[in-house]
Subunit: 141 residues, 2 copies
DNA sequence: CGCAATGTTGACAAGAATAGTCGGGTATGA
DNA sequence: TCATACCCGACTATTCTTGTCAACATTGCG
Protein backbone atom coordinates (compact mmCIF):
# COMPACT_ATOMS: atom_id res chain seq x y z
CA UNK A 1 0.00 0.00 0.00
CA UNK A 2 1.55 3.20 -1.10
CA UNK A 3 0.43 6.28 -2.82
CA UNK A 4 1.78 7.24 -6.19
CA UNK A 5 3.83 10.27 -7.02
CA UNK A 6 0.66 12.04 -8.01
CA UNK A 7 -0.46 12.49 -4.44
CA UNK A 8 3.02 13.41 -3.34
CA UNK A 9 3.58 15.94 -6.11
CA UNK A 10 0.10 17.28 -5.56
CA UNK A 11 0.88 18.00 -1.95
CA UNK A 12 4.20 19.57 -2.87
CA UNK A 13 2.48 21.84 -5.31
CA UNK A 14 -0.31 22.81 -2.96
CA UNK A 15 2.12 23.52 -0.18
CA UNK A 16 4.10 25.68 -2.56
CA UNK A 17 0.98 27.64 -3.40
CA UNK A 18 0.03 27.88 0.26
CA UNK A 19 3.36 29.46 1.05
CA UNK A 20 2.66 32.09 -1.59
CA UNK A 21 -1.02 32.61 -0.92
CA UNK A 22 -1.98 36.23 -1.55
CA UNK A 23 0.95 36.89 -3.88
CA UNK A 24 -1.06 36.51 -7.04
CA UNK A 25 -1.10 33.58 -9.45
CA UNK A 26 2.02 31.46 -9.75
CA UNK A 27 2.82 30.25 -13.25
CA UNK A 28 3.37 26.58 -13.91
CA UNK A 29 7.03 27.20 -14.50
CA UNK A 30 7.48 28.49 -10.98
CA UNK A 31 5.51 25.74 -9.36
CA UNK A 32 7.63 23.23 -11.22
CA UNK A 33 10.56 24.36 -9.08
CA UNK A 34 9.41 21.80 -6.58
CA UNK A 35 11.08 19.29 -8.83
CA UNK A 36 8.30 17.91 -10.97
CA UNK A 37 8.30 17.85 -14.79
CA UNK A 38 6.17 20.71 -16.05
CA UNK A 39 4.12 18.65 -18.44
CA UNK A 40 3.25 16.19 -15.73
CA UNK A 41 2.56 18.80 -13.10
CA UNK A 42 0.16 20.44 -15.48
CA UNK A 43 -2.08 17.40 -15.39
CA UNK A 44 -2.05 17.29 -11.64
CA UNK A 45 -2.90 20.94 -11.33
CA UNK A 46 -5.69 20.32 -13.80
CA UNK A 47 -7.13 17.74 -11.43
CA UNK A 48 -6.73 20.06 -8.49
CA UNK A 49 -8.55 22.75 -10.41
CA UNK A 50 -11.43 20.45 -11.32
CA UNK A 51 -11.67 19.48 -7.68
CA UNK A 52 -12.05 23.14 -6.78
CA UNK A 53 -8.83 23.38 -4.83
CA UNK A 54 -7.02 25.85 -7.05
CA UNK A 55 -8.15 28.56 -9.41
CA UNK A 56 -6.33 29.63 -12.51
CA UNK A 57 -5.76 32.81 -14.42
CA UNK A 58 -5.12 32.30 -18.09
CA UNK A 59 -2.95 34.38 -20.32
CA UNK A 60 0.15 36.36 -19.60
CA UNK A 61 0.87 36.96 -15.92
CA UNK A 62 -1.51 34.15 -15.21
CA UNK A 63 -1.00 31.06 -13.14
CA UNK A 64 -2.37 29.00 -10.28
CA UNK A 65 -3.46 29.95 -6.80
CA UNK A 66 -5.32 28.36 -3.92
CA UNK A 67 -9.08 28.50 -4.27
CA UNK A 68 -9.61 28.58 -0.51
CA UNK A 69 -7.83 29.46 2.67
CA UNK A 70 -5.03 27.06 3.61
CA UNK A 71 -7.00 26.11 6.71
CA UNK A 72 -9.88 24.85 4.57
CA UNK A 73 -7.80 22.56 2.40
CA UNK A 74 -6.79 19.22 3.81
CA UNK A 75 -4.25 16.66 2.79
CA UNK A 76 -7.18 14.35 2.19
CA UNK A 77 -8.71 16.77 -0.31
CA UNK A 78 -5.45 16.87 -2.21
CA UNK A 79 -4.90 13.13 -2.24
CA UNK A 80 -8.48 12.59 -3.36
CA UNK A 81 -8.12 15.08 -6.18
CA UNK A 82 -4.83 13.76 -7.47
CA UNK A 83 -5.10 10.04 -6.88
CA UNK A 84 -8.81 9.56 -7.14
CA UNK A 85 -10.81 8.34 -4.19
CA UNK A 86 -8.72 5.92 -2.22
CA UNK A 87 -10.55 2.68 -1.89
CA UNK A 88 -8.53 0.31 0.10
CA UNK A 89 -10.45 -2.59 -1.33
CA UNK A 90 -13.00 -2.63 -4.09
CA UNK A 91 -15.04 -4.69 -1.68
CA UNK A 92 -16.19 -1.33 -0.37
CA UNK A 93 -17.35 0.38 -3.53
CA UNK A 94 -18.51 -2.85 -5.07
CA UNK A 95 -21.51 -4.21 -3.21
CA UNK A 96 -21.95 -7.61 -4.80
CA UNK A 97 -18.47 -8.78 -4.07
CA UNK A 98 -18.56 -11.42 -1.44
CA UNK A 99 -18.73 -14.65 -3.40
CA UNK A 100 -18.45 -16.89 -0.40
CA UNK A 101 -20.38 -14.72 1.93
CA UNK A 102 -19.19 -16.46 5.07
CA UNK A 103 -15.81 -14.83 5.41
CA UNK A 104 -16.76 -11.32 4.52
CA UNK A 105 -16.31 -10.18 8.02
CA UNK A 106 -13.11 -8.95 6.48
CA UNK A 107 -15.20 -6.32 4.86
CA UNK A 108 -15.79 -4.63 8.16
CA UNK A 109 -12.08 -4.36 8.55
CA UNK A 110 -11.70 -2.54 5.25
CA UNK A 111 -14.56 -0.31 6.19
CA UNK A 112 -13.04 0.55 9.50
CA UNK A 113 -9.57 1.11 8.06
CA UNK A 114 -10.87 3.18 5.21
CA UNK A 115 -12.85 5.45 7.50
CA UNK A 116 -9.99 5.82 9.92
CA UNK A 117 -7.50 6.71 7.23
CA UNK A 118 -9.86 9.19 5.67
CA UNK A 119 -10.41 10.87 9.00
CA UNK A 120 -6.69 11.00 9.45
CA UNK A 121 -6.10 12.62 6.08
CA UNK A 122 -8.90 15.08 6.65
CA UNK A 123 -7.40 16.09 9.96
CA UNK A 124 -4.35 17.76 8.45
CA UNK A 125 -4.73 21.09 6.65
CA UNK A 126 -2.26 23.12 4.66
CA UNK A 127 -2.44 25.65 7.46
CA UNK A 128 -1.23 22.99 9.88
CA UNK A 129 1.68 22.34 7.58
CA UNK A 130 2.53 26.00 7.34
CA UNK A 131 2.51 26.28 11.10
CA UNK A 132 4.53 23.13 11.39
CA UNK A 133 2.85 22.23 14.63
CA UNK A 134 3.14 18.54 15.09
CA UNK A 135 -0.46 17.90 13.96
CA UNK A 136 -1.12 15.24 16.51
CA UNK A 137 1.38 12.85 18.07
CA UNK A 138 1.70 9.16 17.62
CA UNK A 139 5.27 8.12 17.78
CA UNK A 140 7.34 11.20 18.31
CA UNK A 141 10.70 9.70 19.18
CA UNK B 1 -3.85 4.71 -2.48
CA UNK B 2 -5.15 1.23 -2.31
CA UNK B 3 -3.77 -2.10 -1.43
CA UNK B 4 -3.46 -4.83 -3.97
CA UNK B 5 -5.29 -8.11 -3.99
CA UNK B 6 -2.34 -9.67 -2.24
CA UNK B 7 -3.13 -8.01 1.04
CA UNK B 8 -6.80 -8.69 0.64
CA UNK B 9 -6.37 -12.34 -0.28
CA UNK B 10 -3.80 -12.70 2.46
CA UNK B 11 -6.27 -11.52 5.04
CA UNK B 12 -8.98 -13.79 3.63
CA UNK B 13 -6.65 -16.73 3.89
CA UNK B 14 -5.49 -15.92 7.39
CA UNK B 15 -9.01 -15.41 8.59
CA UNK B 16 -9.94 -18.75 7.09
CA UNK B 17 -7.12 -20.39 9.00
CA UNK B 18 -8.05 -18.55 12.17
CA UNK B 19 -11.56 -19.91 11.98
CA UNK B 20 -10.11 -23.41 11.80
CA UNK B 21 -7.30 -23.00 14.29
CA UNK B 22 -6.74 -26.23 16.19
CA UNK B 23 -8.27 -28.41 13.49
CA UNK B 24 -4.97 -29.47 12.00
CA UNK B 25 -3.38 -28.28 8.77
CA UNK B 26 -5.65 -27.06 6.00
CA UNK B 27 -4.54 -28.00 2.49
CA UNK B 28 -4.15 -25.32 -0.14
CA UNK B 29 -7.15 -26.67 -1.98
CA UNK B 30 -9.41 -25.97 0.97
CA UNK B 31 -8.03 -22.52 1.62
CA UNK B 32 -8.61 -21.67 -2.02
CA UNK B 33 -12.34 -21.90 -1.30
CA UNK B 34 -12.10 -18.28 -0.30
CA UNK B 35 -12.15 -17.58 -4.01
CA UNK B 36 -8.51 -17.18 -4.94
CA UNK B 37 -6.71 -19.11 -7.68
CA UNK B 38 -4.69 -21.89 -6.07
CA UNK B 39 -1.48 -21.13 -7.88
CA UNK B 40 -1.60 -17.54 -6.80
CA UNK B 41 -2.63 -18.28 -3.25
CA UNK B 42 0.33 -20.58 -2.94
CA UNK B 43 2.68 -17.66 -3.43
CA UNK B 44 0.92 -15.60 -0.84
CA UNK B 45 0.96 -18.40 1.70
CA UNK B 46 4.64 -18.80 0.95
CA UNK B 47 5.19 -15.18 1.96
CA UNK B 48 3.11 -15.65 5.05
CA UNK B 49 5.19 -18.65 5.98
CA UNK B 50 8.47 -16.82 5.47
CA UNK B 51 7.11 -14.05 7.66
CA UNK B 52 6.48 -16.60 10.39
CA UNK B 53 2.72 -16.22 10.39
CA UNK B 54 1.82 -19.70 9.25
CA UNK B 55 3.50 -23.07 9.50
CA UNK B 56 3.17 -25.86 7.02
CA UNK B 57 3.10 -29.61 7.04
CA UNK B 58 4.34 -31.21 3.87
CA UNK B 59 3.23 -34.45 2.38
CA UNK B 60 -0.12 -36.16 2.44
CA UNK B 61 -2.55 -34.79 5.01
CA UNK B 62 -0.41 -31.69 5.15
CA UNK B 63 -1.40 -28.10 4.79
CA UNK B 64 -1.23 -24.68 6.39
CA UNK B 65 -2.02 -23.50 9.89
CA UNK B 66 -1.49 -20.41 11.97
CA UNK B 67 1.92 -20.20 13.57
CA UNK B 68 0.59 -18.22 16.54
CA UNK B 69 -2.58 -17.53 18.42
CA UNK B 70 -5.10 -15.40 16.51
CA UNK B 71 -4.70 -12.71 19.15
CA UNK B 72 -0.98 -12.38 18.33
CA UNK B 73 -1.44 -11.89 14.61
CA UNK B 74 -2.49 -8.48 13.38
CA UNK B 75 -3.83 -7.21 10.12
CA UNK B 76 -0.65 -5.18 9.88
CA UNK B 77 1.48 -8.30 10.10
CA UNK B 78 -0.47 -9.84 7.26
CA UNK B 79 -0.37 -6.78 5.02
CA UNK B 80 3.34 -6.43 5.62
CA UNK B 81 3.98 -10.05 4.76
CA UNK B 82 1.94 -10.08 1.60
CA UNK B 83 2.42 -6.59 0.21
CA UNK B 84 5.84 -5.81 1.53
CA UNK B 85 6.38 -2.92 3.90
CA UNK B 86 3.96 -0.17 3.10
CA UNK B 87 5.86 3.00 2.45
CA UNK B 88 3.48 5.78 1.74
CA UNK B 89 6.22 7.77 0.10
CA UNK B 90 9.77 6.75 -0.69
CA UNK B 91 10.69 10.03 0.95
CA UNK B 92 10.61 8.02 4.15
CA UNK B 93 12.84 5.10 3.31
CA UNK B 94 15.03 7.17 1.05
CA UNK B 95 16.98 9.72 3.06
CA UNK B 96 18.57 11.80 0.33
CA UNK B 97 15.35 12.68 -1.39
CA UNK B 98 14.58 16.30 -0.78
CA UNK B 99 16.07 18.06 -3.78
CA UNK B 100 14.75 21.46 -2.89
CA UNK B 101 15.09 21.07 0.80
CA UNK B 102 12.86 24.02 1.64
CA UNK B 103 9.52 22.37 1.12
CA UNK B 104 10.23 19.09 2.75
CA UNK B 105 8.00 19.88 5.60
CA UNK B 106 5.77 17.57 3.62
CA UNK B 107 8.00 14.81 4.82
CA UNK B 108 6.72 15.21 8.33
CA UNK B 109 3.25 14.63 7.00
CA UNK B 110 4.22 11.32 5.43
CA UNK B 111 5.97 10.34 8.60
CA UNK B 112 2.95 11.12 10.69
CA UNK B 113 0.55 9.39 8.31
CA UNK B 114 2.73 6.36 7.97
CA UNK B 115 3.06 5.93 11.71
CA UNK B 116 -0.63 6.44 12.26
CA UNK B 117 -1.65 3.94 9.64
CA UNK B 118 0.79 1.38 10.93
CA UNK B 119 -0.55 1.79 14.44
CA UNK B 120 -4.01 1.37 13.08
CA UNK B 121 -3.16 -1.84 11.25
CA UNK B 122 -1.36 -3.21 14.23
CA UNK B 123 -4.36 -2.55 16.43
CA UNK B 124 -6.57 -5.17 14.80
CA UNK B 125 -5.88 -8.84 15.42
CA UNK B 126 -7.41 -11.93 13.89
CA UNK B 127 -8.94 -12.56 17.28
CA UNK B 128 -10.74 -9.23 17.04
CA UNK B 129 -12.11 -10.29 13.72
CA UNK B 130 -13.27 -13.63 15.05
CA UNK B 131 -15.07 -11.89 17.87
CA UNK B 132 -16.48 -9.38 15.47
CA UNK B 133 -16.38 -6.71 18.10
CA UNK B 134 -16.32 -3.39 16.36
CA UNK B 135 -12.54 -2.95 16.95
CA UNK B 136 -12.81 0.71 17.69
CA UNK B 137 -15.37 3.16 16.43
CA UNK B 138 -14.95 5.98 13.99
CA UNK B 139 -17.99 6.46 11.92
CA UNK B 140 -20.53 3.86 12.85
CA UNK B 141 -23.58 5.17 11.10
C1' DC C 1 -3.71 44.44 -33.83
C1' DG C 2 -0.42 40.98 -32.98
C1' DC C 3 2.70 38.51 -30.28
C1' DA C 4 4.26 36.29 -26.31
C1' DA C 5 3.06 34.25 -22.06
C1' DT C 6 0.09 31.20 -20.09
C1' DG C 7 -3.38 27.65 -19.13
C1' DT C 8 -6.29 23.36 -21.54
C1' DT C 9 -6.86 19.18 -23.65
C1' DG C 10 -6.16 14.78 -25.43
C1' DA C 11 -3.18 11.37 -27.50
C1' DC C 12 0.79 8.64 -27.05
C1' DA C 13 4.41 5.59 -24.98
C1' DA C 14 8.11 3.40 -22.15
C1' DG C 15 8.61 0.99 -18.00
C1' DA C 16 7.08 -1.11 -13.82
C1' DA C 17 3.78 -3.47 -11.07
C1' DT C 18 -0.10 -6.58 -10.68
C1' DA C 19 -2.30 -10.79 -11.01
C1' DG C 20 -1.98 -14.78 -12.36
C1' DT C 21 -0.21 -19.31 -14.82
C1' DC C 22 2.79 -23.12 -15.42
C1' DG C 23 6.13 -26.70 -14.89
C1' DG C 24 8.95 -29.13 -12.39
C1' DG C 25 10.68 -30.09 -8.00
C1' DT C 26 10.59 -32.24 -2.74
C1' DA C 27 8.56 -34.33 1.41
C1' DT C 28 5.54 -37.62 3.66
C1' DG C 29 1.75 -40.76 5.08
C1' DA C 30 -0.55 -44.93 3.87
C1' DT D 1 5.71 -46.64 -4.22
C1' DC D 2 2.10 -43.76 -5.04
C1' DA D 3 -0.95 -40.11 -4.21
C1' DT D 4 -1.18 -35.98 -1.71
C1' DA D 5 0.70 -32.11 -0.46
C1' DC D 6 3.89 -28.12 -0.21
C1' DC D 7 8.07 -25.46 -2.64
C1' DC D 8 10.18 -22.67 -6.04
C1' DG D 9 11.32 -20.13 -10.00
C1' DA D 10 10.19 -18.71 -14.60
C1' DC D 11 6.92 -16.82 -17.70
C1' DT D 12 3.10 -13.68 -19.38
C1' DA D 13 -0.91 -10.72 -20.28
C1' DT D 14 -2.87 -6.67 -18.60
C1' DT D 15 -3.05 -2.55 -16.21
C1' DC D 16 -1.09 1.43 -13.91
C1' DT D 17 2.34 4.84 -13.42
C1' DT D 18 4.90 8.45 -15.06
C1' DG D 19 5.76 11.13 -18.13
C1' DT D 20 6.07 13.45 -23.08
C1' DC D 21 4.20 15.88 -26.88
C1' DA D 22 1.52 18.63 -29.99
C1' DA D 23 -2.07 21.57 -30.91
C1' DC D 24 -5.18 24.91 -29.17
C1' DA D 25 -7.51 28.73 -26.31
C1' DT D 26 -7.14 32.89 -23.56
C1' DT D 27 -5.24 37.05 -22.02
C1' DG D 28 -1.96 41.14 -21.15
C1' DC D 29 0.77 44.45 -23.25
C1' DG D 30 3.05 47.33 -26.56
Amino acid sequence: MKLSTKGKYGLYAMFYLAQRAGNGPQPLKSVAEIGVPEDYLEQLLGNLRRAGLVTTVRGAQGGYQLAKEPCSITVGDIIDATEGPLSISECLSDEGCCHRSGQCKTRRVWEYLSNSINDLLQSISLQDMLEQEQFGNTKES
